[in-house]
Symmetry: C2
């Protein structure tokens, strides 16, 4: 079993109420790969970077089982750069700088060695590029997961709707779900989105957890109540990577196992926010993850037999 990850590998500069960084490693595919590498060492990365992207970061990824043949390195150009400042609530942020750099030329090509990947995570890039990736796959994967954002709903809704018919699971946050469906009620929005193509829908609600919808079933995973959220950048991509990693490891794409995978994704995300960038994801051990999973069990476990 292997996991194909498509997305950005980039630099971020972040300011939060707790501190400030210069350029550090970021990007949706970076976070997803580090998270997933806790569960599988067969990750096939597709991205684009400039010649400024550090060799040692590539080596760190490679050492964790992340294949980089599909990562295009563009000589003489710079990597994608984003800079933002979070507000006190850590849910809202101002973008200070967006330098597309190499991302403007991103044209993902799937290497032959990547063919046959059973699990595909399409990070938040232009819907036309997500579609192009799917069209290059010679065998239909067992599970294709798509991430997207408001920006594409405003600028490329037709492409987005088309790619939605080609995927199994959509991953969005609550405001994106509302915008995509044109419904304020999350339950109504979910029903509408499930009629647009994906059989599964995950709606992320940040500190308020996440909901998984499938047919008439719904599952709710809480977020761990944290004393401090140090830096929320990448938490959503880490969630996605942990979710996919668990599915790849267990080779089981049932609704029941997706519930567990969401808890695993939430646990990974709870580590991600403890430090700037993906640092914390590189440090944690299986023991750390198991301990945190147990905290999730404690958090929601109740006994209804007395009623």
């Amino acid at each position: 079993m292997s996991l194909l990850v498509v997305g950005t590998m980039a630099f971020d500069a972040i300011e939060t109420p707790f501190g400030k960084t210069d350029k550090i490693i970021g990007g949706s595919a970076t976070y997803a790969a580090y998270a997933a590498s806790n569960f599988t060492h067969s990750i096939k990365q597709v991205s684009i970077v400039g010649e400024d992207f550090p060799e040692e970061e590539m080596k760190d990824l490679s050492d964790r089982g992340v294949e980089l043949e599909g990562v295009e390195v563009v000589k003489g150009k710079k990597s994608f750069f984003w800079s933002g400042k979070y507000h006190l609530d850590m849910n809202t942020r101002d973008t200070l700088v967006t330098d597309l750099n190499v991302l403007a030329d991103f044209n993902p090509v799937i290497p032959d060695s990547y063919q046959g990947a059973e699990f595909v995570m399409l990070g938040n890039v232009m819907p036309a590029l997500q579609k192009k990736v799917i069209e290059q796959l010679k065998e239909r994967p067992r599970l294709i997961v798509l991430d997207t954002m408001n920006f594409w709903m405003e600028t490329a809704m037709d492409d987005l709707k088309e790619v939605l018919t080609m995927v199994d699971l959509l991953l969005v946050n609550d405001s994106e779900a509302r915008q995509l469906a044109g419904e304020y009620s999350i339950v109504k929005a979910a029903r509408k989105i499930l009629s647009m193509g994906p059989k599964y829908l995950i709606i992320k609600k940040g500190e308020h957890g996440a909901l998984l919808f499938h047919e008439n079933n719904v599952f709710f995973a809480p977020a761990l109540p944290l004393e401090d959220v140090f830096d929320p950048t990448g938490a959503g991509d880490t969630f996605a990577g942990g979710f996919m990693g668990h599915l790849v490891k267990t080779k089981d794409v049932s609704f029941e196992n997706m519930k567990t995978a969401i808890i695993v994704g939430s646990a990974l995300a709870s580590f991600c926010v403890e430090k700037f960038g993906p640092e914390r994801l590189k440090e944690i051990t299986k023991q750390d993850i198991d301990t945190r999973l147990d905290e999730f069990v404690q958090l929601v476990n109740f006994d209804i037999k007395l009623v």
Copy 2:
């Protein structure tokens, strides 16, 4: 085992995106009593109403085991009246009218027949009155629960802090918890509040569920994802009534049983919002409640053994 409920019995006029009512029955003690009456028929109500409060409502309550000796009926005066309009998100609202009427003279007197109540729910009234109720109790109840709101933090913080030292459990929403503790982080706010007196703290987050804190333990109860929230008025008081009702019924005030009680409270609240006023709470059967409790089990139940 009996439950003493102190709070308002009143009229509301409500406008939501789904409709509009003239004066209907409302009040924190009304909602709490209707909710709790699904679990115990030994409820001792303390409140104040005008001569306009309907006889048939009193009879409905009485028929459900709610004793009304402690409800003062003031001749020639009107009951407390509140009118509000909810925004589309149903979490925020504008108050249109607040006519205190008899509430301005509320001076709760505990009848002798109410002495010995093991469970006490102090609804959201002036902290000095909540304190006065506690001081009238000849035997220390097993559990005293206090509800309050931002308004008292702004106008009667000293009284509120004093009464907090006299109760076992505080029930507030997230913004109230933040204001009371002066901490943005919910986890830090909880720790601070637990140092102010109560051994237990419930933080309600509306559609995002509720958290129970005790020592170093935390439990999270989700809200049921609902297609439509018709009218959120009284949902918090209904939650409190269902929570207390379950504790009275099971005679168990352990942290473990409080977890179940929070789920029960959440289930009752999910009925409350389906119609205007407390109507839905009068209709539901034990079977309805059990079915909904099972939905909560399905909603959060997951299996972590595969990891």
